[in-house]
C-alpha cells in the first residue's frame, strides 16, 4: 500500500485514493473538430512510461480532490505530488527511465 502525499491532507495510505491515470491529458476544447485519429489518441493513447510518470490521483476517501503525482514506475517511488493546474517541475518532465 503506497503512501501518497495529498497536497491538501498530507501523507495518506493508498486505500484512501483512486488512481486517475496519466496526468496532463487535457480534453480537447472542440472534440467535434478532431479527426478520428486525433480523438482516439485523446481517448486511448497513453505514454505507459517506464520511469518517471505523471499521474492523477483522487483523494476519494479523504478531501475528494484530484491532484498529480510524479512516480517512478520502475521503483514506485513518488518523487512529488502537486495540485491540479500546476505543471510538473522541469527537472521532472523528462521521462527517462
Amino acid at each position: 500500500m503506497l503512501l501518497i502525499n495529498c497536497p491538501y491532507c498530507g501523507p495518506r495510505p493508498e486505500a484512501e485514493f483512486a488512481n486517475g491515470g496519466q496526468a496532463h491529458i487535457a480534453r480537447p476544447a472542440d472534440p467535434m473538430s478532431l479527426t478520428d485519429d486525433e480523438w482516439a489518441a485523446y481517448l486511448y493513447m497513453r505514454d505507459n512510461t517506464k520511469g518517471l510518470h505523471h499521474e492523477r490521483w483522487r483523494h476519494a476517501n479523504g478531501c475528494g480532490r484530484f491532484f498529480n503525482a510524479s512516480r517512478d514506475t520502475t521503483t514506485d517511488v513518488i518523487k512529488r505530488t502537486y495540485r491540479m493546474g500546476e505543471r510538473p517541475e522541469a527537472e521532472h518532465q523528462g521521462a527517462k527511465p
Binding site: M1, G64, F66
Partner: protein
C-alpha cells in the same frame, strides 16, 4: 515414554512443567518451553517425515523456521487442523496432537518409498519427457497418478473454527529480529522519543543469545543479558515488543507485513483471542536484524534422520536442554561447528570425530577441540552415510578421495557456514552484493529507508554484531527525527568463530558422488542440478524451475546457495554472474485466514440495506444482491413461487396500486449557478430549458460513446438539480462528474453532493396511486393538471418534508416519494396503511423489471452492456442534437458507431405466446446453419407478462429496427423458438395511463 535425552538447560531454568502430547498417535512428555522438535528429540525421536518425491525418511535439520523436513499436521479436530507446520516452530501444549505427513500406511513403512527404487528414472523434469502417449492417457491415467503423489500434508476439510484480525500500525522505528543486533538496536533507538516496534518470529526473544553458553555481555551470560535487555525495553512506554511475530513481507514505501501467532501455542485460548493477527506496519525507518541461517553441506546421503545443522544441535542442547545424539560425527567447513561440538560434549555426547573440509584446521576453536581430546581430520569429507530410519554411520575420507573409514554415529552435524537472511532487504528492492569470503550475498545499496545490522549484514563476531545493531538503532531513530539521548557502550566477551564458508557439493569428483541432497524437501540432488545445466537450463531461474530447487516450503533458505555453488562450478561461471533467484514474500508460509482478517461472512463486504428493508423482511420478501445492496426481489405469499408472486404483483400494480422501495437509486445534488451548463456537458440531453419543478430522463455516456448510466433528473431550482443514477452506478457517476468538474472545468460554479442515503424513495405506481397519496400529502396539489407526469413538488407527507416526483417506471400513473431516510419506513407504513383499501401490493425488483419491460424501458446493465450507444438502445431522442459537445458526443460519430447493422433494441414476441425466452439466448436467421451459426443478436430481457397474458422479450438485434415484423429464430438446446420482431413498447404505446 520418558525423555531420556534431556540434559540441563544452559540457563538453569529446570523447573519447567511437564507437558503431554501425542505424535503419530503415541503419547509423549515434554517440558513447557519445548518445541515439538525439542520434545521429540528429548524422547529420542528423529524420524518425523517423508520427503516429497522419493519419500525418504527424514528428521530434523534445523531448530528454526528454515526447517525443510520436519513438517507435521497439528490439530485434534478437523476445524482446527493445520498441515505443514514445522515441528521446530510448533510449541507444545498439554493435549497437542500432531502427525507426520506424506506417508502411507505409516511413517516407518511407507509405500511411497517405492519411488526410491525408480529414482534413477525420475530425474529433474522427467515428467516433461514422458506421459505423452497415448494422447488421452495424460488426463485419464498419468495425471491422476501424479496428482495422487502430490502435496505434503492434507488440507483441512472443515471450515476453520478460528478467527483472525488485522491491525494497521505506525512506528518511527521497526526492528525485525531480537537477537543481539536487534536488541542493541532497540535499546538505542528507544533511548529517544521514537516509537519502536521490535518483533521476532520466535516465542522467546534473544535470537542466538539463547543458545550461547560461552559468550558474555556486560558481564552477564549471553542469555541473561538478553533477558535483562528485554526487561529494560518492556519498561519503556515507546517500545512495543512482539514475539511470535514474523515480518513476512516488505511492500513499497516502508510498509511491512507482520504476522503474529496469538493462540497456536495455547491449550485453551481465551475467547477474545484471534488465532493470528496481521499487522500492517508503516515504519519511518526499519532496522533489519534477522540474523543468518546455517548452511548444510552437500554430500552423499546427507538427508538421513540424525543429520543436522551444527548450530541447530547447539540450540537444542543449550536452549532446550536436549541432546540430539550421543555419538556424534561433525562435518564442517568452518569453526562454528567446533563450538557446537564442544557444547554437545559438555552435555555428555561423545564426539567421534570432527571432519573438516578445510585444507588445514587451526585457531582457537580447533585447538580447544583438540585440547578436549576430540579427534580432528582436516582436508576430509563425509562421503556417505548409512542408516535407514536414523543415521548409523558416516564414511569419511580425504577430500580428494581415497579409502573411506566408517565411523558409527547417531548424529552427524554439518556446517557450511552461514547465509545472511537478506530476504526482507531484497524484497525492499535493495541491491545485494556477493561476498566471496562468506560465500553468500550481503546487503548492498538500500532503496527504502532501512538498514541491516548484525548477522544479516554478514557480521558474525558478537562484538561487531552488537556494535552494528546499536549504531543501526541510533541511526534509525535519528533519521526518523528523534536523535537518541546518548550512546551506551557494551562490553562483549566472546570468541569469534570466523566466517569460513563453503557452497556446492563437497565431492571433488562428481562422477563418484551418489545422491547428495541440495533441496531436502523437494528431493533435488546435486545431480539434478547438474543435469539441468547440461540440458541448457543455465540461468539460475531456469535451474530453479526445472529442478524445483528452492521452491519448497522453506523457499531455499538452506538450499539456494548450495544450488548456486553447484551450478557455478558446473558451468564454470562465477557465482555473482550466475545470479540469484528473487526473494518474494512471505518470509515463511503465512496463514490465508490472517490475510483475510475480519472480511468474512457478513463482513466480507458491507451489506447495504434501505431503511424499509426490515419491513420487507418481516413481510417475507426474498432479496437479491445488487452490488453491495440487498434489494427486495419479490414478496411471495404462502404457496407462491416467484412466477406466481410476480404475476400477482404485476397485476395488482396495473389494476390498482403497487408500492416499491426504490431507495437504492443513486442520488446527487448538483448546485450552483452553472448547474445547468454542467448538466449539459455531462448528459446527452439538453437541460437549459427544463423548468424548475420538472423532471427529465437523462442519459450519460462514457467518453467512448457507450451508455454508462441513466436516471431521472429533477430541477429543483434554476441552480439546483436532483439527479438520480442506477443503484450500481452511483459512485461511478459521482466520481466521473467530480473528475470533469475538478480537472476539465474548474471554472464552473457548481458543486456536487451525494444524497443517495439522505432519501428513502417510495415508488407508488398504479391507477390508484394518486388516491392513496392524496390524503397524506400537505401543500401539494396532486391533480393531473397541477402536477403532470414528469414533475416534482416539495411539501410534506405524513408531516415530514418530501420531494415528490411524479414519474413512472411502470407505465402507470406513478409517484416517487422522497423522504429523509430516517422517516422512510414510517412513511412507507403510513402509505401502505392508506393503500389497504385499494389492495396496495408491495412489489420487488422482479416485478419492476417486468412492468418496465412491457413499456420498453431499458435497464442499464441489462439492455446495455458497455457496448451500446443511445441510438442502439432506442434513445436517440434523448441526445441533444443541437448541443455542441457533451461527454461521449465525439465518439458517437466514429465509423463503427454509425454502422447501419449495429445491434438495436427491439421487442420480440414469440410465436408461441406461452414460450418465455431465456435471457441471454442468441438470435439467428438460419437455425439450420452448421456450427458456427452466425448470430445476429441476443435476448436482453424476457418475462411472462401477466398483463398481456403472454411472454414478452426485449432484444438487441442487428439492424433490428429495420426488421419489424420479421420472424427470427432462437435456437435452444431442446429446439428452436420463433419470435417476431416488434416495437419495444409492448403495452400502452401512447402512454395514456401514465398521463392519467
Amino acid at each position: 515414554m520418558t525423555d531420556t535425552y534431556r540434559v540441563r538447560r544452559g540457563d538453569g531454568a529446570e523447573s519447567r512443567n511437564a507437558v503431554h502430547f501425542t505424535f503419530e498417535g503415541k503419547s509423549y512428555q515434554g517440558l513447557a518451553g519445548d518445541t515439538l522438535a525439542s520434545a521429540l528429540i528429548a524422547n529420542g525421536v528423529h524420524l518425523v517425515g517423508r520427503s516429497f518425491k522419493y519419500h525418504r525418511p527424514r528428521g530434523f535439520v534445523s531448530a528454526g523456521s528454515e526447517e525443510p523436513n520436519a513438517l507435521v499436521g497439528v490439530g485434534a479436530t478437523q476445524s482446527r487442523y493445520t498441515p505443514n507446520l514445522l515441528a521446530t516452530q510448533v510449541e507444545i501444549y498439554e493435549g497437542l496432537v500432531a502427525e507426520s505427513q506424506n506417508r502411507w500406511p505409516s511413517l516407518e513403512t511407507d509405500a511411497g518409498f517405492l519411488n526410491e527404487y525408480f529414482s534413477a528414472f525420475l530425474p529433474a523434469g522427467f515428467y516433461y519427457k514422458t506421459f505423452m502417449w497415448p494422447r488421452m492417457a495424460w488426463k485419464k491415467l498419468y495425471e491422476p497418478v501424479i496428482r495422487r503423489m502430490a502435496g505434503l500434508g492434507r488440507a483441512p476439510a472443515e471450515p476453520d473454527a478460528d478467527r483472525y484480525t488485522q491491525v494497521f500500525a505506525h512506528c518511527d522505528v521497526l526492528i525485525v529480529g531480537a537477537g543481539p543486533a536487534g536488541l542493541a538496536a532497540a535499546l538505542e533507538a528507544s533511548n529517544s522519543d521514537a516509537t519502536v516496534i521490535l518483533c521476532d518470529e520466535q516465542a522467546e526473544m534473544g535470537g542466538s543469545l539463547l543458545s550461547d553458553r560461552s559468550a558474555s555481555i556486560d558481564g552477564m551470560q549471553a542469555a541473561d543479558w538478553a533477558r535483562a535487555a528485554l526487561d529494560e525495553l518492556r519498561k519503556r512506554p515507546n517500545v512495543k515488543l512482539m514475539s511470535r511475530t514474523t515480518a513476512f513481507g516488505w511492500y513499497p514505501h516502508n510498509f511491512v507485513g507482520l504476522n503474529e501467532r496469538v493462540t497456536d501455542h495455547l491449550a485453551n485460548p481465551a475467547a477474545n483471542q484471534p488465532r493470528e493477527r496481521l499487522w500492517q506496519v508503516r515504519a519511518k525507518e526499519v532496522v533489519l536484524a534477522a540474523g543468518a541461517i546455517e548452511r548444510p553441506l552437500v554430500f552423499t546421503d546427507n538427508d538421513r534422520p540424525g543429520i543436522m545443522l551444527a548450530d541447530a544441535a547447539r540450540t537444542y542442547v543449550n536452549r532446550y536442554g536436549v541432546v540430539p545424539g550421543k555419538q556424534v560425527v561433525v562435518f564442517t567447513a568452518c569453526d562454528s561447528a567446533y563450538r557446537a561440538a564442544l557444547d554437545l560434549k559438555a552435555a555428555g555426547a561423545k564426539i567421534q570425530v570432527i571432519v573438516d573440509l578445510r585444507k588445514s584446521a587451526s585457531g582457537h576453536w580447533v585447538d580447544k577441540a583438540r585440547a578436549e581430546g576430540i579427534k580432528v581430520r582436516s582436508d576430509s569429507i563425509v562421503r556417505g552415510t548409512s542408516g535407514r530410519l536414523r543415521v548409523k554411520s558416516a564414511q569419511i575420507s580425504n577430500a580428494q578421495g581415497g579409502d573411506a573409514e566408517t565411523v558409527a554415529c547417531d548424529l552427524i552435524l554439518m556446517s557450511a557456514g552461514f547465509t545472511p537472511s537478506v530476504h526482507l532487504f531484497s524484497q525492499s528492492r535493495g541491491k545485494l552484493s556477493y561476498s566471496e569470503e562468506l560465500r553468500a550475498y550481503v546487503p548492498g545499496e538500500s532503496v527504502e529507508r532501512e538498514r541491516s545490522v548484525g548477522a544479516c549484514k554478514g557480521l558474525f563476531a558478537l562484538d561487531s554484531v552488537i556494535e552494528s545493531g546499536a549504531k543501526g538503532g541510533r541511526d534509525a531513530a535519528a533519521k526518523a527525527g528523534f536523535p537518541p539521548r546518548g550512546e551506551r557502550s557494551y562490553t562483549v566477551s566472546a570468541r569469534s568463530v570466523g566466517a569460513d564458508a563453503f557452497i556446492g557439493s563437497v565431492m571433488a569428483d562428481h562422477q563418484a558422488e551418489k545422491r547428495a541432497w541440495v533441496d531436502f524437501q523437494n528431493d533435488v540432488t546435486a545431480k539434478d542440478v547438474r543435469l539441468a545445466t547440461r540440458e541448457g537450463f543455465r540461468s539460475i531461474e531456469h535451474v530453479k524451475r526445472y529442478t524445483t530447487t528452492g521452491m519448497a516450503t522453506d523457499q531455499g533458505k538452506l538450499s539456494n546457495m548450495n544450488a548456486l555453488g553447484v551450478v557455478s562450478k558446473q558451468i564454470d561461471v562465477a557465482v555473482p554472474k550466475v545470479g540469484l533467484t528473487t526473494f518474494r514474500p512471505p518470509y515463511t508460509p503465512t496463514t490465508f485466514g490472517s490475510f483475510a482478517g475480519q472480511s468474512r461472512g457478513d463482513l466480507f463486504d458491507p451489506v447495504r440495506k434501505t431503511s424499509i428493508h426490515p419491513w420487507a423482511e418481516a413481510q417475507g420478501a426474498q432479496f437479491e444482491d445488487v452490488g453491495v445492496w440487498k434489494r427486495a426481489w419479490y414478496f411471495p405469499q404462502v404457496g407462491e413461487d416467484m412466477h406466481a408472486a410476480v404475476a400477482r404483483e404485476c397485476k395488482a400494480t396495473r389494476e390498482s396500486v403497487g408500492i416499491f422501495d426504490a431507495s437504492t437509486l443513486g442520488k446527487i445534488e448538483i448546485v450552483g449557478k452553472d448547474a445547468a451548463e454542467f448538466m449539459n456537458r455531462m448528459y446527452t440531453n439538453a437541460w437549459t430549458k427544463l423548468e424548475p419543478g420538472r423532471l427529465r430522463y437523462g442519459v450519460m455516456l462514457r467518453e467512448d460513446g457507450f451508455i454508462m448510466d441513466d436516471g431521472v433528473v429533477g430541477r429543483m431550482a434554476t441552480d439546483r438539480f436532483h439527479v438520480t443514477t442506477t443503484t450500481g452506478g452511483a459512485a461511478r457517476v459521482l466520481s466521473m462528474m467530480e473528475d470533469y468538474l475538478q480537472t476539465e472545468w474548474p471554472d464552473l460554479e457548481v458543486w456536487l453532493t451525494s444524497t443517495t442515503e439522505q432519501w428513502s424513495v417510495i415508488a407508488l405506481q398504479g391507477p390508484n396511486a394518486r388516491r392513496v397519496l392524496e390524503p397524506l400529502v400537505e401543500g401539494i396539489d396532486l391533480s393531473a393538471d397541477a402536477m403532470p407526469h414528469m414533475s416534482v413538488r416539495q411539501g410534506r407527507i405524513c408531516g415530514v418534508p418530501t420531494r415528490l416526483f411524479r414519474v413512472s417506471f411502470t407505465g402507470e400513473l406513478g409517484f416517487e416519494v422522497n423522504v429523509p431516510a430516517g422517516y422512510g419506513r414510517a412513511v412507507w407504513e403510513a402509505i401502505f396503511a392508506a393503500g389497504k383499501s385499494y389492495g396496495i401490493t408491495p412489489y420487488g425488483t422482479e416485478t419492476m423489471h417486468v412492468l418496465r419491460a412491457e413499456k420498453g424501458y431499458i435497464i442499464v446493465g441489462q439492455e446495455t452492456d458497455g457496448t451500446v450507444t443511445p441510438d442502439d438502445a432506442g434513445l436517440g431522442w434523448a441526445v441533444g442534437k443541437a448541443k455542441r459537445d457533451f461527454v461521449g458526443k465525439r465518439s458517437l460519430s466514429r465509423p463503427a458507431l454509425v454502422r447501419e447493422d449495429r445491434k438495436q433494441l427491439v421487442g420480440l414476441l414469440t410465436t408461441d405466446p406461452k414460450a418465455v425466452l431465456e435471457e441471454g439466448a442468441q438470435i439467428v436467421l438460419d437455425p439450420t446453419h452448421p456450427i458456427p451459426v452466425p448470430m445476429i443478436g441476443h435476448v436482453t430481457s424476457a418475462y411472462w407478462s401477466a398483463t398481456l397474458n403472454r411472454s414478452i422479450a426485449l432484444a438487441l438485434v442487428r439492424g433490428g429496427r429495420s426488421r419489424m415484423g420479421e420472424e427470427l429464430s432462437i435456437p435452444m438446446p431442446d429446439g428452436v423458438i420463433k419470435a417476431k420482431v416488434v416495437d419495444s413498447i409492448l403495452f400502452d404505446p401512447k402512454g395514456e395511463r401514465l398521463n392519467a
